[in-house]
Symmetry: C2
Subunit: 229 residues, 2 copies
DNA sequence: CTTAAGCGGAGAGATTTTCTCCGCCTGTCA
DNA sequence: TGACAGGCGGAGAAAATCTCTCCGCTTAAG
């Protein structure tokens, strides 16, 4: 593959990552093209359709995610610090967030499951180690960790995104969130007094840690719930 | 106003709130119509254009937000519990998140500023009280509180939204985030070791508490930054 | 029972999005 | 250095989506 072709490919993938993150997986490919600063032809030659682009992106991200986890574990002897380093790295790379946005649009074939399993295993290892060392609350599951990452590291809506310039704010808020996961942190009774409005019945079991399987199950079906997306 | 007209109006506002929250302030009004289960005619008769709808929505939300803050302060003697109650109420009503999404699309006239000031004052009061009582870290600003609320209570992207069914998960994660704001919570050195990739220069001053004014300033300008949204 | 306000939906027109084709440019290898 | 295969950007046709109006039927209110 020619050098400039490879460069284009990477620019497209990076642009796609950000665009999908900001505008959802249905964002016009045109927007990707514009952000990448290439012509439409270039995108469609490399990725025949939306599915191909998304698949390439997800595979790439899952791989890097697993690598980041391994690197974090090697770089920090302290289990909590390793976990923290990983979480920050994932946020930097816009990964955690991007993946869940995208997974739902794909038929998850074997290759994808393999990549996902690898990444999850690496992160789970970090989580478990921190919990066993008594440095993290034990009522937190992989699902909680992943979702918290997604929530905190997603770009803010609309004009607020500028606050995140450079990523400094994301890191600040990630640390705030992580602080809530330390064993010392106060735990509130869920109380269930939620107020009159929103349904008080627990759809997902609110009590225990959220497992990763629950997250996968939810991501599995496209637009099933709700009154016609 | 006839009873059914009022009912339609409310259904439209509720639908609009969710749709704008999920798909941004440019979401097709068609989608609002579909979710509300009314005909297009009904929407356009009540709200001549997008601006009218957005304005009605924001005004309504700001008012309710201020009310919720007052109610929380009266219901709980303990300052931290009052703040917590308010935060959960705001999440239930999809408010904090909706407002910031929408404010940027509006010319903020006097009426809007008044409503906003009222709401902010009420919440600021809650925050200050909790901090003075020593129940909350003092390196947290209104901006942090608001943004954390936005981040945690926004609907999850895509299919993951089903995990939030009933709102149980949002409340769980809100409590996790709040736990990170307690005085006891561990504070990390920001370290700035972010990793090679993302720019390490601090766009927003990463150090101190984020003020509400900073948030407003950011929300003020539409799509100024970035390489052509 | 009367009546006017309200409602849902069909659909015209405008806008946006997808994707192809083609002529020029640029790495790469001899 | 020169030749050329592969790559590039962009114009633009075809399809999809979105906005908003008009109209005949329904329904709340007196």
């Amino acid at each position: 593959m020619r050098a400039d072709a490879e460069r284009s490919r990477r620019r497209i993938l990076e642009a796609a990552c950000e665009v999908f993150l900001e505008r959802g997986p249905d964002a016009p490919l045109d927007a990707v093209v514009r952000r990448a600063g290439v012509g439409p032809g270039t995108l469609y030659r490399r990725f025949p359709d939306r599915e191909a682009l998304v698949r390439a992106l997800v595979t790439d991200l899952l791989t890097r995610l697993a690598e980041a986890a391994d690197r974090a574990r090697e770089a920090e002897a302290d289990p909590y610090r390793a976990l923290r380093r990983f979480v920050h790295a994932a946020a930097d790379l816009r990964m955690g967030a991007a993946i869940v946005v995208l997974l739902e649009r794909l038929v998850v074939d074997e290759e994808l499951v393999a990549a996902r399993t690898g990444a999850v295993a690496a992160v789970e290892e970090l989580l478990r180690a921190a919990q066993e060392a008594g440095q993290l609350r034990t009522d937190i599951g992989m699902g909680d960790l992943v979702l918290l990452c997604v929530r905190v590291s997603r770009p803010l809506p609309g004009g607020l995104a500028v606050l995140d310039a450079g990523g400094a704010l994301v890191h600040r808020h990630l640390d705030l969130a992580l602080a809530g996961l330390r064993p010392g942190a106060a735990v509130e009774e869920s109380a269930e007094e939620s107020g009159g409005k929103a349904g008080a019945e627990a759809g997902a079991e609110a009590g225990g840690p959220l497992t990763f399987d629950q997250v996968i199950a939810a991501a599995g079906r496209p637009g099933e719930p709700g009154p016609a997306e």
